[in-house]
Symmetry: C2
Subunit: 254 residues, 2 copies
């Protein structure tokens, strides 16, 4: 029962009982994997999409000098759609033990063509792209301390959207190496940053459980604006700028 998936979809559409049933009984190959096992590789062309049921995975690339980059996190309820001719250097890896569903193109097509589910899926895809852009900004511009805070903010929101956040607390089954690889920073430095976030009473993190203690302060430090995650459709932009300044007339850096 991919309830996390259902939870996310239902944030953006009203489902009938039949719709819910369709989701709950999605056909596909169910897999249970251990941390570190590959879900699919670049050369894999079985054309199947990944629906995370439980546990976390990541889309990884390897740099020529043997480092690993995690360019995308797959949380429970996330759907990674198959794309023909995907970048062959990309692979999907389990970051914790967990289970997932491999969906055939036909199954995905059924969802995509569904009058209610289809648009909701579109939405999820758009959000995923926005996350990608936001990561660029976070990694490119934020200092490590803020960078870690930013990712934690994002995780909290995404877990909440999947119905997996309770009392500002959710599971975070990643190893610190994974966080470091996702944030393009060094393991020791990530550790420092986490310590500091803990000692400043912004988060709690032990036993793979993350608690956002002071969300407002954390978001301020992270320069986190959840606009890109588009929590609800009704939160769409209304802030229309009256004048459009030419781009190079904007101020830079303070």
């Amino acid at each position: 029962m991919p309830s996390a998936f259902l939870n996310k979809l239902e944030r953006w559409a009203d489902f009938s009982h039949a719709d819910r049933l369709l989701i709950a009984q999605l056909p596909g190959e169910a897999l249970t994997l251990q941390r570190g096992e590959q879900i699919l590789t670049g050369s894999d062309d079985t054309r199947r999409s990944i629906l995370m049921l439980d546990g976390w995975a990541g889309l990884c690339k390897d740099t020529p000098d043997g480092e690993r980059v995690i360019s995308e996190l797959l949380l429970p309820g996330d759907l990674h759609k198959y794309r023909r001719h995907r970048d062959p250097s990309l692979r999907a890896t389990m970051l914790s033990t967990g289970s997932l569903l491999l969906l055939s193109p036909a199954t995905v097509a059924i969802l995509a063509d569904h009058p209610v589910i289809g648009p909701a899926l579109e939405w999820l895809t758009t959000v995923q792209q926005s996350i990608h852009s936001e990561w660029l900004v976070n990694i490119g511009r934020n200092k490590v301390y803020a960078r870690v805070a930013h990712l934690l903010c994002e995780i909290a929101v995404r877990m909440n959207n999947a119905g997996l956040l309770e009392d500002e607390t959710c599971i975070l089954p990643l190893a610190q190496v994974d966080l470091a690889d996702a944030l393009s920073m060094t393991l020791p430095h990530l550790n420092i940053a986490l310590q500091r976030l803990r000692s400043e009473n912004l988060i709690r993190l032990d036993q793979k459980k993350l608690t956002i203690v002071d969300r407002l302060r954390l978001e301020a430090i992270a320069r986190f604006d959840d606009g890109y995650l588009m929590r609800w459709p009704t939160e769409l932009p209304d802030r229309r700028t009256t004048t459009l300044p030419r781009d190079h007339e904007r101020r830079r850096r303070g």
Copy 2:
């Protein structure tokens, strides 16, 4: 005549005369804009896609502290597809003077549903996503010198795909500020890096014209592997790894 667009598409599909005519006569609102003018803003919801004809544009975000991030470059022949509920903090800006075509959703649908053009478009979209991932890696892991080299390599390939590279030379109408904003680095440092690339006889760059003097050496410095740009469909991955190492058994950093 969006010939750059046509050139790119034809790399991946055989077009009939009628197909070419369809592309050449694409209906849409033609605009000619100056550097710095906005093409569309986050709150803009006219649902139109951008087809670059001439000149370069960029997708920009602004950080809370007033910096600008260029998260995507639009070169001549690039199509930026409209997405409902796109990240509202994203806007499209001209980075040089140039012209473009605004396409209605209906027009885009005609292209997408076309039996030959449709798949080619899919292809372009996939490549754009790969570029995005690659930027994450480039910005996250490469040092400035290599980082600049990497972007220049990418530009050369993309311009070549659009038929706009001759004798390893193409137009690069960006200001250095733009390059810096796209690479998430400081303007002075970008300048240094460019100087060095010039002095090492790897590139030539003046009068907005870029020449790759020593591509092999440049690509080596940049750790550039054009796999993610998927120049030709036939270049698809065949390198199947025989053993799949569990992920945390891989070596890190050397």
